[in-house]
């Protein structure tokens, strides 16, 4: 029978099919763990006297509340320090592999899996973190879970789950210069809404998606959750295989050949039926920014802040009024006139080497606007090391930016990297919720290119605003850079 990519991966993991409305019991190939959503799960195991069933399918890293400065000193915040210490104790007690602060493989959990070659096509991947959808870029079925489910997976390596619905999102054509995968996903969320994906696995397809690098695909799948979806997937292809080959945990020899043969079958059949289909034309896209307090409240940078009185739907109108009040914005003002105080470049959405390279190319030889601060936080220690080997750190420092250690950082402000009340950011992260980056902080979600241009001009800007002669940079290594690939960077 014809099937979608999501259905194929699902079916290959059914341990026990549910009957009479009961969910299927699904096997989990890879369980990623971090310090925030795991302590209560390990405590549950301890109380019940249960072991971790498969420590060899589990890996932990410290990311959410790790500091990005002074990582060789004791963590100043006592509750953060306790939470990290709790993860270290739990990992030791239950035999779970852990990458701690200071370790070259430490970093945001959604960067660590792919860079170690643990994330692969056809897997089921879970983590107590909603941005687990990132791993879907490889053609894995990957989704965020709550702490009770973390405990369930630790104890049983399975999860009882009711099947998801499927939605095909086709992005046809070619992206115009200056538009990126971040703009694709912001446009999708604005189109289908923050609840539009609820109950669905999204499959991104079409020419514009095929043309994207692995890292750009990860940015899209990462934000599937902002449309309410459980997961986002992209069928694996040569780009995927090329990214994986040679990574520490990638299959080798006959295993590699068998894997590629299987992975090549992981695509939706031509006659597969999706529950819903959405089509976008890439050529219509331009740099997108959010103006409100949820990721669905976004518009092309060339537009104006919405005027709530012109919104017909009452719920949406009230939400827009609230959002504009919180954001301190005038209805109808051009988005380009919005001045920001902080530019944050980082997170599991846009903190990878290609993101850092494209911004570095843009800001090289320039100075940031005096009115703002710029924080650059690589998504993992390896990404930081690679960037330093390529000389990106010096470009950012010369620009006037701060170069930090890896972690989630200002994406959610669990560590000291926070916005002050009323402070406004242009952020390459994934959520613009009230207070997300610090109590009273105001967030505009942007692509790395818009972040870079904004850091130069001081107001929300695209590369085009820097002048007609400015080339739009891509994520390839800088000319003359000494090393280009994380696999050899060490």
């Amino acid at each position: 029978m014809a099937g979608t990519l999501a259905e194929k991966v699902w079916d290959a993991h059914i341990v026990r099919r549910g009957t009479d409305g009961a969910p299927d019991l699904l096997y989990i190939d890879l369980h990623l763990v971090h310090e925030v959503t795991s302590p209560q799960a390990f405590e549950g195991l301890r109380l019940a006297g249960r072991p971790v069933r498969r420590p060899d399918l589990t890996i932990a890293t410290e990311d959410h509340n790790t500091p990005t400065l002074d990582i060789d000193r004791p963590i100043a915040d006592l509750t953060s320090r306790t939470q990290i210490q709790t993860l270290r104790n739990n990992a030791a007690e239950f035999g779970v592999r852990l990458h701690s602060l200071g370790d070259a493989d430490q970093g945001i959990v959604h960067q660590v899996g792919p860079q170690l070659g643990l994330t692969m096509p056809g897997l089921t991947v879970v983590c107590g973190d909603s941005h687990t959808s990132t791993h879907g870029a490889f053609g894995a079925l990957a989704f965020g879970i709550g702490t009770s489910e973390v405990e369930h997976v630790l104890a049983t390596q399975t999860l009882p789950l009711a099947p998801f619905k499927t939605m095909a999102i086709t992005v046809d054509g070619e992206l115009p210069k200056g538009a990126t995968s971040k703009d694709i996903i912001l446009a999708i969320i604005a189109k289908i809404g923050t609840g539009g994906g609820q109950g669905y696995v999204l499959e991104y397809r079409g020419e514009a998606i095929r043309a994207l690098s692995m890292e750009a695909r990860m940015t899209i799948c990462n934000m599937s959750i902002e449309a309410g979806a459980r997961a986002g997937m992209i069928a694996p292809d040569e780009t995927t295989f090329e990214y994986l080959k040679g990574r520490p945990h990638a299959p080798e020899g006959a295993d590699w050949d068998a894997a590629v043969e299987y992975w090549s079958t992981l695509r939706s059949d031509d006659d597969a039926v999706f529950d819903t289909e959405v089509v976008l034309r890439a050529s219509d896209l331009e740099p997108f920014v959010t103006w409100g307090t949820n990721p669905g409240q976004g518009l092309p940078l060339s537009s104006n802040v919405p005027v709530p009185s012109e919104i017909a739907d009452e719920n949406e109108r009230v939400a827009a009024e609230r959002a504009l009040e919180y954001m301190g914005l005038e209805p109808g003002m051009p988005l380009r006139d919005i001045a920001v105080d902080t530019v944050f470049i980082g997170s599991c959405t846009n903190g990878r080497i290609e993101d850092l390279r494209s911004v570095a190319k843009l800001v090289k030889g320039r100075k940031k606007a005096d009115s703002l601060r710029v924080l650059v936080v690589p998504s993992s220690a390896r990404v930081r090391l690679q960037a330093e080997a390529e000389g990106l750190d010096q470009i950012f420092l010369d620009f006037g930016a701060e170069w930090r250690n890896a972690g989630c950082s200002m994406c959610l402000g669990m560590n000291p990297d926070q916005l002050a009340p009323g402070e406004r950011s242009a952020s390459t992260s994934n959520r613009n919720f009230e207070g997300r980056q610090g109590k009273g902080g105001r967030t505009h979600l942007v692509s790395p290119l818009v972040a870079g241009a904004t850091a130069i001009r001081g107001t929300l800007s695209s590369v085009a605003d820097l002048g007609p002669d400015v080339e739009v940079p891509d994520g390839s290594p800088l000319e003359g850079a000494p090393v280009a690939d994380a696999r050899q960077s060490a």
Binding site: G21, A22, L25, Y27, L30, V36, Q40, E43, R50, P55, D56, T58, T68, L69, D70, I71, T79, D103, A104, D105, L116, L118, L123, G128, D129, I145, G146, T147, S148, E149, E151, H152, A155, T156, T158, P160, A162, G195, Q198, G228, R230, P248, H249, A258, A259, Y262, A319, D370, R373, L385, L397, E402, N405, P416, R431, E434, R436, K439, A486, A490
Partner: protein
């Protein structure tokens, strides 16, 4: 888990849509390593506003939250459910719940009941016209009742059964341990193992230090 078949308590009208889990409990409260003690963190940013619904005497002891559409979006943090439960809530009524939040609720014995938007509006009117009105949430009849308003709600059959029986998921799954072991025996050898760990060669990671900005003040 405690069995849940019916609950009656003060209804709290929350006239907001897209109440994300960062609003239910901000990230700074997620650093605790216990499962309880989150009551003060619930809606922390809004609790400072005297006009906020839970700061009004009639609603303070509420246990049935009636919210706008898309409740519990965003982060997967189960702390959102713990905070609602620790405060005293037993049920949340909304037009639409985020998937992860709804799943987390079911695991923790908090009922996430899906109600049509026009019925939410009816309940809001009753609860606002007569603050302190109690709402009965009847899981057997799949109905919520407040004064003369009776509205149906949806909850999936499996979650409903588990709530009514007070069943623990892990215990249920481990009844099928033999099948899990059988499945594991068929796992292809290319599928990854995290142990033994494979790495790139070790490299020293040097700590970043604070830098001066605007010429004077060190960044906190």
């Amino acid at each position: 888990m405690e069995k849940f078949s019916q609950h009656t308590g003060v209804g709290v009208p929350l006239r907001r849509s897209n109440v994300d889990t960062d609003q239910i409990i901000p990230a700074v409260y997620l650093k605790r390593v216990t499962r309880t003690g989150f009551e003060d963190a619930l809606f922390a940013a809004w609790r400072g506003d005297p006009e906020f619904v839970l700061n009004q005497d009639a609603y303070r002891s509420g246990s049935v939250l009636v919210a706008g559409p898309d409740f519990g979006t965003g982060s997967s943090r189960e702390h959102a459910v713990w905070a609602l439960k620790d405060y005293g809530f037993r049920a949340v009524l909304s037009t639409r719940f985020a998937d992860i939040f709804r799943g987390n609720s079911g695991k923790q014995g908090l009922l996430a009941a899906q109600v049509a938007q026009e019925d939410i509006e009816l309940l809001w009117k009753v609860l606002e016209a007569r603050p302190g009105t109690e709402v009965t949430v009847d899981l057997v009849a799949k109905q919520a009742r407040a004064d003369d308003v009776v509205v149906p709600f949806e909850v999936d059959d499996y979650t409903r059964w588990r709530l009514m029986e007070g069943l623990d998921d892990i215990g249920l799954t481990l009844k099928h341990e033999g099948e899990i072991t059988e499945f594991e025996a068929t796992r292809a050898s290319w599928r990854p193992l995290t142990l033994p760990a494979k790495h790139l060669p070790p490299v020293e990671v040097v700590a970043a230090r604070p830098v001066l900005r605007h010429g004077d003040d060190a960044l906190a």
